[in-house]
Amino acid sequence: MSGLATIQRQIQWNRLIAVVEEQAQTMIRTAFSTTVREAGDLSAGIFDLEGRMMAQAVTGTPGHVNSMAESVGHFLKKFPVHTMRPGDHYITNDPWLGTGHLHDLTVVTPAFRNGRIVALFANTAHIIDIGGLGMGPEGRSVFEEGLYIPIVKCFDQGRPNETFFDFLRAGSRTPVELEGDVYSLCACNDAGAKRLVEMMDEYRMESLEPLAAFIFEASLRATEEAIAALPRGSYAAEIRSDGYEAPVTLRAAMTVEERRILVDFAGTSGLSTRGINVPPAYCRAYACFGIKCVVAPEIPNNWASLKPFEMAIPEGCILNAPRPYPVSVRHVIGQLLPDLMMGCLAQAVPERVNAEGSSALWNPPLRGGAQVSGQAAEVEDFEIITFNSGGTGARPAKDGLSGIAFPSGVRTMPVEATENVAPVVFWRKELRPDSAGAGRTRGGFGQIMEIGAKNDAEFAVNAIFDRVANPPRGRFGGLDGAPGWVGLDDPNGTVLRTKGFQIIPKGRRLVLKLPGGGGYGDPRERDPALVARDVADGLVSEEAARRLYGWAG
């Protein structure tokens, strides 16, 4: 290839990344569900005609990212490329063909240039309600968890499939938002397709194949080089989740070879009867993300850069849930996988991994009104979820981040905005002192949240919290972060279950204490000035500073 052609391929690759970013931004701006527009729980990408992902938006969250990469192949099996027409849009929320639970819609759209199909655009978004039991762990099969959409056409050559939309609206507590979100997903794929065609015109490209080959070759080579730089060997680790009916152990054996990394999850606990089970694509997504953050963070996501990471997930384990096992809140287990991967990598490259963090999001799904209190309801019906996080694990050279999502890539919404869409009052939402695991670098602090309904009315939480019995662990002498706590604001400090549907009685508030991240290294080696700063800020008590850090102040 000539020098000029090499440079032009690079420019086209950059452009492709800009195109998918534009696709994601369009979704954020047009989406209706707060989960997409405020929280950014979405992803967007472009695929070649074999269903291989060429580029993906930086905006988005890892669980979607890597599982959506597998999803397009499933669409092509049902609707082969030669059957697709301009203006077609295909949709599913099948947890096993999409991104792991019914709340995620995935839409695939073919892009045409001069009447010829040239690429596929796909995106995924977490919508606010899909009927059924609602977001929560209580279902005993996927059939209880909501409306199940097989891969179907939602737009046929530009015309909405009204039968589909009728079913969709009828099956949700929030029909207007849901329908609006489907429109938004289709619109953002169209935006991507339009830009792609412009680029192909500019560079007179008849097909994307040569560009795809260039991207895949460069990405694979760079990823393999990054792997080759790691010490070869086998590294094992395990991590514990509180589980639903019993604690869950996740176990991994990671083998670093010259050009690939193999992870075997043998020894992991079996399936749960409740919706904390993880479909395999979602397991691969978060495990891959955890490895990639450490090993090759700079390499953009695509089919080839994900390829050298191979997973063996035994049948019957909680990370390989078969249909129709319930999977609604698979994130609560899945989001521990990066910590597990780092537990393995800590043995290979200790200076590049974090201590364990709060990791699983602490999203309280709240419901009130007649669906909770029947005719005695004192507030209008509401169904909301906010996305909240504890502390992240300490980093080798920096403290963990306080109240920040990791590994999830979502954002939270302002309290003022939440209080405007539902009759709730957040009485407290601030950092939780003494929750960070002590260390040479400390973990991030968790938060304390106190939530009531307006006029102190009765409401309910569909709890999906973890790290209460099993706090985030420190590494290399760093101490564990504080465990989480779920309960009421009554004088006895009534404790609630970490998972499942529970009523907050009239006059009471829900109290959540989010876990802190684990520490890294011996706390006695911490810079005393930093200990003094945390004490002055009221984040570390004087007593804890003396006891844990040997603070002399």
Partner: protein
């Protein structure tokens, strides 16, 4: 009395002065001056530059009738964390709003990111028991004793400025006002910023962040403005002093001292106003302002001669210009995209063998490798030199002789060797990548604004704008470029064209299904009066114009679209018309309207502004002969990679109406205008260079 108007723009490296004086028959003459910025006492540079400009014009300070000023001082204080010791009083249970932000990371894969430290550390973020609900109803009364109890601690800590921000305080400011009253009683000399005044809009993080930033820069700005005013008076200047706001209007020194946070982006705003004026002179309805300097490039869409307005902005980004890595500000700003792409931006090759350019910059020291000041890494300027676009001996008017060998060595070592390219092709790669980066930023900017590039003109200025303009234009499909004169001090000239203006924004939640006409009309009247009052202080009775906007969205959506309102009380009949206007505006952005959704209004904006001065349309000029080239340069074309001989013309030797065909270069001291293959360049009646893409016959 003849009008003599003076503008001073303090930038990172230079302080620019533009002076315009009316002569006989109202003919306006312009003088400019450029002096080094004096960061330790910025007024010194201004006074020096003013003296220089006056001397060049043969005028004295007493002759000046109006002075306009813009400065990056507030921005720098935020970036360098050199503001006042600031405290925040806030709702109990919410003292960490500034630290928690939106609980997210701006980079998904980088485990080692830093988040911006809040301007107020936790020990000075103090809780006050009180609580309002979303309608402004009191859930918990203000605990005045608890508030007073904080004061001795704040005194002991040596606090110099205070911000007060309560949840939902923008709906009902009673608690914030009462808290301020108590502070004034107990500690009258402490400057206090109220969230309900600085940024009365929903979203607590953005509102508190803006309020705290205002408090943080207030003492410093007040001192600076005081010193500047005294210095100007000492020179004998009696003219009023106006400040340039980030929203593109001018305001009085009193308003600037109250809300100094509104000054942060005044320099770039001046650049946009400059472009808008040029657009008006040439009757160009659709323009992209493209300002490329040493470290960054700024692009801004200008339709109907008005730069696009926005209300959100991020300052002091800690993560390589990454969105989300700065402090959020909710203030009126001119919407623009700024990316790390300038002459000093450094090039490298990443793990995938891809050329990366910026945002890291060589700065003024050591500067690009070709400056010969010890830089060894290749910058965009090195690449331009290696492509043959600059003449090593006559760069910057010959004040800096460039070292072409050093540029080639840097490109070889850091780009060429990695990719198997010679220095010339490596240079091509660097320039193509930086042009693509700017084109991508421009594309995203257009998408986010629901606009297109069809029929648009680029107005290129700054040292790099005229060099990179034609290739960026080709990439985004623009076929006309204008390179105005005076582009080196564009922002300062822009200040002279800005109206005296003020924007008031208030949140008032209302749904179309149950539109509360009387509440909306009362609010709009109050806002209008406030904006008019603020402008009257500086307009000296000049005619004003008012615009009103409603920020609307489908119920449940997250992002609002601005829809213009009539400037009069609204009636029942307006409600369906507004709804229709919203649907049309939405469809313009996103094609697909959404069936069956109600529409809600989140906030309103009222702007009062003096009427822009009449601009005489530019006269058509007869064709004039092309000047003879002053030399020929061997230039590599970045689109094809081919080497060719490009004639170089002196801009000073071109007469209005002269036409030269690309490929060629039109050189002047501050910059060079590249006329690519397939482009022609003609000087218009105003002395501006107009580049047109020739369509193949």
């Amino acid at each position: 009395m003849r009008r003599v108007r003076l503008a001073a723009d303090i930038g990172g490296t230079f302080t620019d002065i533009a002076l315009e004086a009316e002569g006989a028959e109202e003919v306006v003459t312009r003088w400019t001056a450029k002096v080094l910025t004096t960061p330790e006492a910025p007024e010194r540079g201004v006074l020096e530059g003013v003296a220089l400009a006056l001397e060049r014009a043969g005028l004295t300070a007493a002759d000046v009738t109006l002075m306009i000023h813009g400065t990056t001082l507030a921005t720098n204080a935020l970036i360098e964390r050199k503001g006042a010791k600031t405290a925040l009083l806030t709702t109990e249970g919410f003292r960490d709003v500034l630290a928690l932000g939106n609980e997210s990371r701006y980079d998904q894969y980088d485990l080692n990111i830093d988040l911006p430290e809040p301007l107020v550390p936790r020990r000075w973020r103090l809780p006050v028991p009180e609580r309002l609900d979303n309608t402004g109803r009191v859930l918990r009364p203000l605990d005045e004793a608890a508030l007073r109890a904080h004061i001795p601690f704040l005194r002991a800590e040596g606090i110099e400025a205070l911000a007060i921000g309560f949840l939902h305080g923008f709906v009902n400011p009673a608690h914030e006002r009462r808290a301020a009253e108590i502070l004034r009683e107990e500690w009258p000399e402490l400057p206090v910023s109220l969230a309900s005044e600085v940024s009365p809009e929903m979203r607590e993080w953005e509102r508190f962040s803006t309020t705290v930033a205002n408090a943080y820069v207030q003492p410093l700005m007040a001192r600076y403005l005081g010193r500047l005013e005294a210095g100007l008076r000492a020179m004998g200047m009696g003219a009023p002093l106006f400040l340039m706001l980030s929203g593109g209007g001018l305001t009085t020194i009193e308003t600037a001292a109250r809300f100094p946070i509104r000054l942060v982006e005044s320099g770039p705003a001046g650049g946009a106003i400059f472009s808008a004026h040029v657009a008006r002179q040439r009757g160009l309805e659709k323009v992209l302002s493209f300002d490329m300097g040493g470290t960054t490039a700024k692009v801004c869409l200008i339709d109907g001669y008005a730069p696009q307005a926005s209300r959100s902005f991020e300052v002091a980004r800690v993560g390589r210009f990454k969105k989300g890595s700065g402090l959020p500000l909710r203030i009126p700003v001119i919407e623009m995209v700024e990316i790390g792409a300038g002459g000093g931006s450094l090039a490298s090759v990443d793990a995938m063998g891809r050329i990366q350019v910026g945002p890291e910059s060589a700065g003024a020291m050591p500067g690009p490798a070709c400056y010969g000041r010890g830089g060894t890494r290749p910058a965009v300027t090195d690449a331009n030199l290696a492509l043959g676009r600059y003449d090593a001996a006559s760069f910057a008017g010959g004040t800096l002789v460039l070292d072409a060998g050093a540029a080639a060595r840097a490109l070889d070592a850091h780009v060429g060797a990695r990719l198997g390219l010679d220095a010339g092709m490596a240079a091509l790669g660097v320039v193509e990548v930086v042009d693509e980066n700017m084109a991508n930023a421009a594309r995203v900017h257009a998408i986010e604004s629901g606009k297109s590039y069809e029929g648009r003109t680029i107005i290129a200025f700054g040292g790099g704008g005229p060099v990179h303009g034609y290739r960026v234009a080709e990439k985004i499909g623009v076929e006309r470029i204008l390179v105005p004169s005076g582009a080196g001090v564009g922002s300062a000239i822009g200040f002279l064209r800005a109206p005296v203006a003020y924007e008031v924004v208030r949140s008032l939640y209302t749904r179309f299904g149950r539109f509360d006409l009387s509440a909306v009309n009362a609010l709009l009247a109050e806002m209008s009066a406030e904006a008019a009052r603020t402008v009257a202080a500086g307009s000296f009775g000049a005619a004003t114009t008012e615009t009103r906007l409603a920020y609307m969205r489908y119920v449940g959506q997250g992002h609002e679209i601005a829809v213009p309102l009539p400037v009069r009380p609204l009636t029942e009949a307006d409600v369906p018309a507004l709804r229709a206007a919203y649907d049309a505006e939405y469809a313009r952005f996103y094609d697909r309207p959404v069936p069956g959704s109600d529409v809600e209004v989140l906030s309103f904006a009222v702007t009062v502004s003096t009427v822009a001065e009449e601009v005489l349309p530019a006269a058509e000029v007869e064709d004039a002969p092309a000047p003879a080239p002053i030399r020929v340069q061997r230039v590599r074309d970045t689109a094809t990679g081919e080497l060719g001989d490009w004639p170089v013309y002196s801009r000073a030797a071109m007469r209005p109406g002269a036409r030269v065909a690309g490929p060629c270069i039109v050189a002047e001291d501050e910059t060079s205008t590249l006329v690519g293959p397939g482009w022609v360049c003609r000087m218009d009646g105003l002395g501006y260079l107009e580049l047109m893409k020739e369509r193949p016959a």
